[in-house]
């Protein structure tokens, strides 16, 4: 009886096997990379806004405190967006004729709110509270990045559950003293491991097992 397979069949089989496994792995890797990419998550992409508001100019160059506009960040779940009135406290005096600011003046004149595009977004089943994070030593830049350098604002984090859990499992890597919360250029100091442990005790931060209870974020 004649051989069914030629001597090279083994090699072909191995090659096919390799290609199948490799392409499956490659497809998974591409899918994983794509799902976390800016293209899908929208991070690092500045969305169109009614006014090209520059955090770099206001927060970075002028040094206006975050809380001047985001007034409820220390007391409420949401940081809050400034009402048109807040913009106009200054812009009724300066840049009063700027065409860029026309939508703001319009909003005040017609008593119609500005519609901003949301950048940082959480799923509806996640309940994030700004106030408790500020109170427990998490600074703005830990989640929102170097906002003071953004000419047009964009999100730096996609807020996957992994991102939240990384910190809830090891908050000592990210917590800061109260006077550095609004320091947008903050980077962990060399001795963060040691300082973090001291701050954990100072803030009475719960152990990771409790911080990762589902009911901490999901209701």
């Amino acid at each position: 009886m004649e051989q069914l397979f030629k001597p090279g069949a083994d090699a072909i089989f191995r090659l096919v096997l390799f290609i199948v496994i490799f392409s499956a792995a490659a497809a998974l890797a591409v899918a994983a990379a794509l799902s976390g990419s800016a293209f899908v998550t929208g991070t690092t992409i500045a969305a169109r806004q009614p006014v090209p508001f520059s955090h770099k100019h206001h927060a970075g160059e002028l040094g206006i405190d975050c809380r001047y506009c985001h007034t409820t960040v220390e007391t409420e779940a949401t940081a809050g967006l400034p009402p048109t009135y807040t913009c106009m406290t200054c812009h009724s005096q300066i840049w009063t004729g700027s065409p860029m600011l026309a939508p703001v003046r319009d909003s005040l004149a017609r008593n119609q709110p500005l519609h901003w595009t949301r950048l940082n977004r959480l799923p509806d089943y996640v309940y994030f509270d700004h106030a408790i994070h500020i109170a427990k030593g998490i600074g703005c830049s830990s989640c929102h990045g170097q906002v003071q350098e953004m000419q047009l604002t964009y999100a730096v984090q996609s807020f996957t559950m992994g991102f939240c859990l990384d910190c809830h499992r090891a908050p000592q890597n990210n917590i800061r003293p109260q006077d550095e919360i609004f320091d947008m250029a903050w980077t962990p100091p060399a001795d963060q491991a040691e300082r973090g442990r001291a701050l954990l005790a100072h803030y009475h931060i719960r152990p990771p097992a409790e911080l990762t209870d589902c009911s901490i974020c999901h209701r």
């Binding site: 929208g42 969305a47 169109r48 409820t72 007391t75 409420e76 779940a77 949401t78 809050g80 967006l81 400034p82 009402p83 048109t84 009135y85 807040t86 909003s107 005040l108 008593n111 119609q112 709110p113 500005l114 519609h115 901003w116 595009t117 949301r118 950048l119 977004r121 799923p123 509806d124 089943y125 309940y127 509270d129 106030a131 408790i132 109170a135 427990k136 009475h204 719960r206 097992a209 409790e210 209870d213 589902c214 009911s215 901490i216 999901h218 209701r219």
Partner: protein
């Protein structure tokens, strides 16, 4: 071994002892609710399901705006103290038939979301009822009337103003001759002032008032007994015996919240001192009052007067006359009479709104003879103002004397007694104006319909039963441009210069309340010191009055009219929460039935669900039969509120319209009716047989003086779990439900629905066992079907410490946190329903369809943003209001102060009018819930399972001389 408590032989419905094979199969199925799915869909439903799944799969790709981004919209000018998402509280009141119940309205982002109690309010004292809880849904009801209509055509206020200006100017010329005003019962001082102002402008105007569930018999009773209109009030804390002759003080109604609180408080105080005040009740139709009675008996309606006379004879010692009643009734009378004789000056005899004036007079006589007047029974001015009757209005309409009829917040075309022929006479009126929340049956027959503002949208005031004036303040601008009754009266009085609601309200109280006190009153929700003072009555006079003649014993069946325990007289027919709330005794939803006694059903060979024709005086209704244990023989109970014909309603043409049979002469009962079978049988939508737990001692009864029925077995029994591995952060949330304080009113269940975005599923889904209520109230009967004891047991999630559901879940979507909560993580759930199969208490609910997404946009405005809206395919259940715990925890962590003791209150706990639910931190020995756990009556539901439930119960009290329960069988 702890002593085994007396087992009550409990059953839940008449089909239950009958061991209906279909029911047994239903119960044996692991997932009764999924049985229809397991049978396999036919080709059409398969295709429909596939199409639906495809469409739904496509929808997941959608996002809020066209560019895939949601929007953030800040204010132009930030209102003071208003922060995005922050909870704001406004003291206000909800209304039932014009009577107020002081509440607190919780709003977020400018939207009223939830009604909570107002602890400081002298009448409600923090309690609420189902109507208060459901009123937020009523506000957002998409079926509400949304514009001024003229002959069914959309119009506007300007056109209405223009149309009435000339007409009412002409009326003014004629001193208002031919002008008639018809309103519901009015307790509001401001609205009454507006009526007076209108009468001043039109001196010959007549004002009539109409309520389908009127209190006319009570008023007529005091007029006959004391010569004046009075409200009868009770001091339960001074009474040892309460005898109720078809009384309704625990049933839904304007009295429920305050009176039930008084009764339960007196009962608990008495039980602590070993002197449990006992409730003796006869009832023609079982209600919440007779269900909670220690001694009860059914009685035919014509036997009540005989019974009252018998009690008078017993008490006066002139010897009992033979009442010819059943053995149970005779036995009841002996007990009640003996108890009354032993408690002169410390007893209360009362009767309900459905009893005729003759019985009311007899009750006053009894109280006078017993020396109760001024001690346990006292009288005040009635809260509702006196007006002419509906019958006198229809009389005038028939004579053609009515040229202009203004109907405010009433729907007589639907709920007027049939013998008045209201709609026929309405056609003779030249100008008909109707104002209401809905474009209802009356609106359709009117020249003008104008939308009324919801109580949550308007300024106003109203009195509670005790006279306390509550202030209503708007928590949202009128959604559809409606106006309040007082504003409309002002418009009709002076069409050129109508006044606003706030203006009218403040102007009315300008003289008596200064600015500082007014500010205080708005914050508190009521005007202090406005409750009525006690009115002295001449006790001698009533005691000496001759006895009223007894009604002859009528042949045939008695038809008894009762308001529906959910949708009342039909005014809440559009409220889905109330429609789907299982009625306390029948557990029926979305429809009404003709209730008959078991004996009558047996005699007439009628089975549950048989469609019958009930005929009386040549008028007839057709509906399915419900066999009601404990109902008096030869009676048929019909409930009001269904059979609506207005099309702009949530569920038109469901049930039958009982008003067709009603007469103005005898609004609560008619005799000489007959039943006729049609041969058809329908399935009734009831939540009764779903999720039963059988053969256990669910409800325990603690007789005074008997050994404690509570046990600690559920916490001390050994078990296999490794205790040492359990971590805790020091808090341990727990709940104790006092079954003795529970009156089965359902306020907790509706409050839970409002707080937790619990979906409404509709009649068909309930019939498939898919109701979503996180908190159900189980109702059990014990004893003979003719006269059973009734027990209510609210069952939320037990939050078992060793929860079986957690073992069942393959994806860890249900698990414990460190505060002892059994969590449900919706975003992890893959919908295996294994947890529900593992749950011994059957408190888990599964989203078979995307129930929540189907809700109309306006109703979605009511949703609590602090609670996830569940999608299709996930399991859900009671969370102990985890959002409230989380809010308290965040504040505590942020400020460093511990959570104040007993400050976290669940929605059900806050809603309860009788404070039956205790919730708090078990780890703190001084907490309310820890104290409740130390009560000797404390026991766990299915404690023998050793799952260590965090929700536990306190046994019901029973007087020492109560009949011992029949042995377990």
């Amino acid at each position: 071994m702890p002593p085994r408590p007396e087992l009550l032989r409990l059953w839940r419905g008449l089909d239950d002892p009958a061991h209906d094979p279909a029911l047994r199969r239903f119960l044996r199925a692991e997932f009764p609710a999924a049985a229809a799915l397991a049978e396999g869909p036919d080709r059409r439903s398969f295709l429909r399901l596939m199409a639906a799944s495809l469409a739904l799969a496509g929808l997941t790709g959608c996002d809020d705006a066209e560019d895939g981004h949601a929007q953030e919209v800040p204010y132009v000018r930030q209102p003071e103290r208003m922060m995005p998402g922050r909870l704001m509280r406004f003291a206000s009141a909800t209304l039932l038939d014009g009577f107020a119940n002081g509440v607190t309205v919780h709003t977020r982002n400018g939207r009223p979301l939830k009604i909570e109690g107002n602890d400081a309010h002298p009448w409600s004292r923090g309690g609420t009822d189902i109507f208060a809880q459901a009123s937020v849904l009523g506000l957002y009801d998409p079926y509400r009337s949304q514009s001024v209509c003229s002959f069914d055509r959309i119009s506007d206020w300007q056109a209405f103003g223009a149309a009435v200006t000339g007409w009412f100017a002409a009326l003014r010329e004629g001193r208002g001759a031919g002008l008639r005003l018809l309103t519901g019962p009015l307790t509001s001082p401001t609205t009454l002032a507006a009526v007076a102002a209108m009468r001043a402008a039109y001196p010959e105007m007549h004002w009539h008032s109409h309520a389908a569930v009127g209190r006319a018999a009570l008023r007529e009773g005091t007029v006959q007994a004391f010569g004046r209109r009075l409200e009868t009030r009770w001091r339960f804390d001074r009474a040892r015996v309460v005898v109720s002759l078809d009384g309704d003080f625990l049933d839904p109604g304007p009295q429920q919240v305050g009176v039930a609180r008084d009764w339960i408080a007196a009962r608990q105080a008495g039980a602590r001192n070993g002197m449990l005040p006992s409730l003796h009740a006869v009832a023609t139709a079982p209600g919440l009052t007779s269900a909670r009675a220690d001694f009860h008996a059914p009685a035919r309606p014509d036997a009540i007067m005989t019974l009252a006379d018998g009690l008078i004879a017993d008490v006066s010692g002139t010897g009992g006359s033979d009442d010819g009643g059943s053995d149970a009734l005779a036995e009841w009378r002996r007990r009640a009479a003996a108890a009354l004789r032993g408690a002169r000056g410390a007893s209360i005899v009362l009767a309900g709104v459905a009893q005729p004036p003759s019985v009311q007079v007899a009750v006053h006589r009894l109280n006078a003879m017993l020396g109760n007047l001024g001690r346990t029974v006292f009288f005040t001015e009635p809260a509702e103002a006196e007006a002419e009757s509906l019958a006198s209005l229809t009389g005038a309409m028939a004579r053609g004397e009515v040229g202009t009829l203004v109907m405010l917040d009433v729907n007589p075309a639907y709920d007027a007694p049939a013998d008045l022929d209201f709609t026929e006479h309405l056609a003779k009126v030249r100008l008909r104006i109707h104002a209401g929340l809905y474009a209802d049956e009356t609106a359709r027959r009117c020249d003008w319909h104008i939308p009324l503002a919801h109580p949550l949208e308007s300024w106003g005031d109203a009195r509670s039963l005790d006279g306390t004036v509550s202030l209503l303040q708007p928590t949202i601008a009128p959604l559809y441009g409606g106006r309040s009754v007082a504003e409309i009266l002002s418009l009709l009085t002076a069409p050129q210069a109508p006044r606003g609601g706030h203006d009218l309200l403040r102007a009315h109280w300008q003289e008596s309340v200064d600015e500082a006190a007014w500010h205080e009153a708005l914050l508190g929700g009521f005007l202090p010191g406005t409750s009525f003072a006690e009115e002295p009555v001449a006790a001698q006079q009533v005691a000496a009055a001759p006895a009223a003649p007894r009604p002859p014993r009528a042949a045939g069946l008695h038809v008894l009219f009762r308001p529906d325990p959910g949708i009342w007289d039909g005014s809440f027919a559009s409220n889905a929460w109330l429609q789907e709330m299982p009625r306390p005794l029948t557990k029926l939803v979305w429809e009404n039935a003709l209730s008959v006694a078991p004996a009558l059903a047996a005699r007439e060979e009628i089975a549950q669900g048989d469609v019958v024709v009930l005929e009386a005086d040549g008028r007839r209704v057709t509906g399915p039969v419900w066999i009601m244990p404990g109902q008096a023989d030869d009676t048929v109970v019909v409930t009001l509120g269904y059979g609506r014909t207005a099309l702009d309603l949530l569920a038109p043409e469901t049930g039958y319209d009982a008003y067709v049979l009603r007469t103005a002469v005898s609004p609560w009962q008619i005799a000489g009716a007959a039943l006729q079978r049609t041969g058809r049988r329908v399935e009734l939508a009831t939540a009764q047989f779903h999720n039963t737990m059988e053969g256990h001692d669910f409800v325990r009864v603690q007789r005074i003086g008997a050994s404690p029925v509570g046990d600690t077995a559920a916490w001390t029994a050994p078990h296999f779990y490794d205790e040492s591995k359990k971590e805790s952060d020091g808090r341990a949330w727990g709940m104790v439900i006092d079954l003795d304080a529970c009156i089965g009113c359902n306020a907790c269940a509706v409050a839970c629905q409002a707080e937790n975005n619990v979906a409404v599923v509709g009649r068909e889904e309930v019939m498939a066992g898919r109701e979503m209520h996180w908190l159900r109230i189980d109702r059990y009967f014990a004893g003979p079907a003719q006269n059973p004891d009734t027990h209510f047991q609210p069952v939320p999630c037990m939050h078992c410490e060793d929860a079986p559901c957690e073992v069942g879940c393959p994806v860890e979507a249900t698990l414990h946190d460190h505060e002892g909560l059994n969590l449900m993580v919706y975003n992890r759930c893959v919908g295996t329903r294994a947890c529900s199969g593992y749950c011994p208490y059957k408190v888990r609910r599964f989203n078979y369809y995307d129930y929540s997404a189907a809700a109309p946009p306006s109703e979605q405005q009511q949703r609590n943003p602090e609670v996830t809206v569940r999608a299709r395919g996930v399991m859900e259940k009671c969370t102990y209001c985890v959002q409230r715990i989380a809010a308290a925890r965040i504040v505590s962590d942020r400020t460093g102060a511990p959570i104040p003791l007993d400050s976290v209150r669940t929605a059900c706990q806050n809603a309860c009018p009788t404070r039956a639910i205790h919730f708090g931190d078990l780890a703190r020995g001084d907490s309310d819930v820890a104290a409740a756990r130390r009560d000797p009556r404390h026991y766990a539901l299915l404690g023998e399972l050793n799952v260590r439930p965090r929700t536990t119960y306190l046994a019901k009290w029973a007087p020492p001389d109560a009949a011992p329960p029949p042995p377990a069988g």
